[in-house]
């Protein structure tokens, strides 16, 4: 999931300076889980913007499971609000940056033929797993998964320096990371796990330099469309 936190309301109000009529659009996916763009947050944003003199034309909260970043869904959802979107001065997106840009490009520009101001209400902070309350970043989407060599622990994500061949000198006595003592040293975790698995020799193999071209942005994928019926 895309971990996210709310933006300070002052920043959002600054974006909306001079804009009167606003549409709010949340997300039934990650933003609902992270409490940044589910129904309660969409309603909260409506109240705040109303209190600040905005005219909220629509406050859209998709049901849990409906991801705003998936264009077929957001297209379907937004089709019910075409008039409000046409009429508004700005749209506030309570979702990750993917969702915002999908709506801007696929829905507003391509579908509605509109060039509207659109602003983020959240900051995305990483590809995370876990929950229901604590989430941790687990994957940097490097394009060439090394977990098979590393007993299911990714040092590119878990290690503060992303080191592929073992720990730096900054491992603390308690096995925590010098950079952030709240975090375990990825390489102590890998060491312990490989030892338990009886595969410590894997840690002795030099991992070759990463092919970072696999992370050359922007990446894209072409897939067989999913049937929504």
């Amino acid at each position: 999931m895309i971990g996210q936190v709310k933006k300070p309301i002052e920043e959002i109000l600054e974006y909306l300076e001079g804009k009167k009529k606003v549409v709010i659009y949340g997300c039934g996916g990650c933003a609902t889980v992270f409490h940044t763009g589910g129904e309660p947050e969409v309603n909260e944003m409506r109240s705040i913007l109303t209190e600040n003199g905005k005219d909220v034309l629509a406050a859209i909260s998709p049901p849990f499971g409906e991801f705003t970043c998936y264009a077929p869904w957001s297209k379907k959802r937004m089709s019910g609000y075409k008039e409000q979107v046409k009429d508004c001065d700005a749209i506030v997106m309570l979702c990750c940056g993917d969702g915002l840009q999908v709506v801007r490009e696929y829905i507003l520009e391509n579908d509605f033929g509109l060039n509207k101001s659109i602003y983020p209400g959240t900051n995305s902070v990483g590809h995370m797993g876990g929950g229901p309350s604590l989430f941790r970043e687990k994957c940097i989407q490097c394009g060439e998964c090394e977990l098979g060599k590393l007993c299911g622990i990714c040092p590119m994500t878990q290690c503060a320096k992303g080191l592929l061949n073992g720990p730096c000198g900054g491992t603390r006595k308690d096995g925590k990371c010098e950079v952030n003592p709240d975090n375990d040293c990825a390489w102590v975790l890998i060491y312990k796990r490989l030892k338990e698995l009886g595969e410590l020799d894997k840690m002795r193999e030099i991992i070759q330099p990463k092919d970072w071209s696999k992370m050359q942005r922007p990446r894209s994928l072409e897939v067989e469309p999913l049937s929504l019926e």
Partner: protein
């Protein structure tokens, strides 16, 4: 310095190197003074690379200052601030100007330094950096293209004998040995039994790699305690802290010089390892005094 570090590593001489810490700014005179003071008293001068992630005069530039003073530099390169292109370009430049020793390091986290907002690089890690230097030494760049004009670097790495837990560190060190190094310079060591265990471990894998024990000059009991609490991989035993605590105020530095000198003397006399690397951190002018206590420099 009349001999190269490589020649000295190949001899039976007890090796001594010292660290030169670049200044923040362009006022290089203090460094030049340290270089001229130390260049004939130690076998090589080792230059830190934006040490502790604090932006300073470059390691490479300081190595050139050492060359200008007819000294023998060791160019420290970390993986934090440069990608593989930039590292290779700096290495080509270094070699073309006579800098032949390189110490391959990971680099302290940016969070520890004075530009915590910067983007860290770590395109490669210290093991891969050793591989990179070997590749250059073989006449190719890291993508396999031929070089017009070759390099031949003497390669060093670091290790942490007092790390706790030690096993993951030793496995990484094994990789450095496997990648191929000429010498290793350790993190500060004060417990010589720990040093000896590390030396045995290293020599069991590769006898020819020369081992330089890291000696950090202590200046007070407070500094020793602070390092114990804050720097992973450094452990100052209580008896040394007590020794520092017992001296009258203002004499901590003299005591520290005595401790460092005596450690070096024991390492040399008992042939625990092949040499020492002295890190006097801001007190470089005291290195001759340390060497004198160690019996290496005749006063």
């Amino acid at each position: 310095m009349t001999k190269s570090l490589r020649e000295i590593l190949g001899s039976d001489k007890f090796i001594t190197t010292a660290e030169v810490g670049p200044v923040k700014g362009t006022n290089v005179q203090k460094m030049v003074d340290h270089i001229t003071l130390l260049k004939d008293k130690v076998d090589a001068l080792n230059v830190t690379d934006n040490q502790s992630a604090v932006m300073r005069y470059p390691s490479l530039g300081t190595c050139l200052l050492i060359m200008e003073q007819d000294g023998e530099p060791v160019f420290q390169i970390t993986c934090r601030d440069r990608n593989r292109l930039s590292i290779q370009a700096d290495l080509l430049f270094a070699f073309s100007r006579g800098i032949e020793n390189v110490l391959c390091l990971t680099g302290d986290s940016l969070k520890m330094g004075d530009h915590p907002e910067a983007k860290p690089v770590y395109d490669i890690d210290s093991v891969q950096l050793i591989q990179l230097v070997h590749t250059l030494n073989s006449g190719k760049d890291f993508s396999g293209n031929s070089l017009d004009g070759e390099v031949d670097f003497c390669i060093g790495a670091s290790a942490t004998p007092s790390a706790d837990p030690i096993e993951p560190q030793l496995i990484k060190y094994e990789k450095k040995l496997k990648a191929g190094i000429d010498f290793v310079q350790t993190q500060a060591v004060y417990d010589l039994d720990e040093l000896e265990r590390f030396v045995n471990y290293s020599r069991n894998i590769n006898k020819s790699v020369k081992i330089l024990a890291g000696i950090v000059l202590l200046v007070s009991a407070g500094m020793a305690k602070w390092m114990n609490e804050n720097i992973p991989g450094i452990f100052v035993p209580q008896n040394l802290i007590d020794e520092l605590a017992e001296v009258p105020k203002g004499e901590g530095l003299s005591k520290g010089i005595e401790i460092a000198g005596n450690l070096i003397k024991r390492i040399k006399d008992e042939k625990i390892c092949d040499g020492v690397h002295i890190m006097a951190i801001g007190k470089e002018e005291k290195v001759p005094d340390i060497l004198q206590v160690a019996g290496i420099l005749k006063g």
